[in-house]
Symmetry: C2
């Protein structure tokens, strides 16, 4: 904080203009995004409020003014990520086409990892550390989410629309395979010798995963798509 000699003399938050809670909104957004990056990189304990503040270009006191404390900030980020998560593949039914559902599942999960890589990594770091903040969510909401889908997969198998594979492990397989490209991005890039994963790469990977997983559990590809 001693040397604030950033690019220019930081303006006094632009006096005129935005009214209402516009300032709050903007600053909170800024802080949340910075915090997501820092928590994702260093984990809960490894992230310092100071580092988050610097990432957001604000004094530490300001971050704490908006967020109360480190713990609250972290929980808020987790909840935001869970909300994105829950919006995913919210309603499927036995009547749906397995191929379409599985492909949509893979595709939307892949996009979530791509659109919110920091959030994905934040979540991963939380689980890696034993999910101290998410135990309840895992054993509650998420477990139900999985159960519901699993039941449908089983019914599909009974109807001969797919092989009788364990549906829970199938869900884990899809999660891991897609999550991988966010969480292990550094590894993927290192091995591919690139410095970013392009949209084209994502599309190819999505197709690859869809093809292998659908075929792997005996789902006939749908005509469309």
């Amino acid at each position: 904080m001693t040397d604030v000699t950033e690019t220019e003399t930081l303006q006094p938050v632009r006096p005129g203009g935005e009214s209402n809670g516009a300032t709050r909104e903007r600053n909170e957004r800024e802080i949340l995004e910075a915090a997501e990056r820092v928590f994702a990189r260093f984990g809960y304990r490894g992230a310092s409020v100071q580092a988050i503040a610097e990432e957001a270009g604000l004094p530490k006191s300001n971050v704490l003014y908006y967020m109360g404390n480190k713990r609250g900030l972290y929980v808020r980020l987790l909840e935001r990520m869970m909300a994105r998560w829950n919006a995913l593949l919210d309603d499927i039914s036995v009547e749906d086409d397995p191929a379409e559902v599985l492909e949509a599942f893979i595709r939307s999960k892949m996009q979530l990892s791509r659109q919110h890589p920091e959030g994905s990594r934040l979540f991963a770091a939380e689980i890696l550390g034993g999910a101290p903040f998410l135990q309840g969510y895992l054993r509650g909401e998420l477990r139900e989410w999985v159960r519901t889908r699993a039941r449908i997969f089983e019914q599909w198998a009974e109807r001969g629309l797919m092989d009788p594979v364990d549906p829970v492990w199938l869900i884990f397989l899809i999660w891991s395979a897609t999550q991988h490209y966010a969480d292990f991005e550094a590894q993927v890039l290192g091995i591919m010798g690139q410095d970013e994963i392009s949209d084209a790469d994502v599309e190819r990977i999505t197709r690859f995963l869809t093809q292998v997983i659908l075929k792997g559990c005996g789902v006939r590809p749908s005509g469309g798509g």
Copy 2:
């Protein structure tokens, strides 16, 4: 450290007995294992030497006496994990049976995750944080490892022994699917409503993954095994 009132008055390291570098060896092992757990749980920055020392049941000074500093300790753990890694599936050839090789790959990777879950998580945390210490390894050794295997997969495809899928993504798929059960153990347990993953679970998961992935990329299962 102030209250060392552990179970009993800690013995003065058992005077008689071990000679040679036995003391060093034992203490180093103890420290490495403790450190692996702590680093895996909290990441590099989040882990404190103090926490590692407590986990090992030693004073902080003693940990630093053996390991020099935090950084060195961490690097040593990473190297140990890479060594285990490199021992995996070291030599395969185009002449081998794809089904056998792939199954052995899945199985041995699964076992590595199971036998060294803390090491797996340590590695995961390192990658998650952008692989600050492993950039070289990823872009060097590991990349070559992947290239070599990928070339063989391609030749199998050319010979019609499997579908012409992208071999690198196939390797990522196997990595992620197996690694998942170590890294996301907390999630897996939460959803399955268990408090540990049994040997039987591991066997079933291994079979599931083998079945789905082999079928998914058009590899005919081998007769044996």
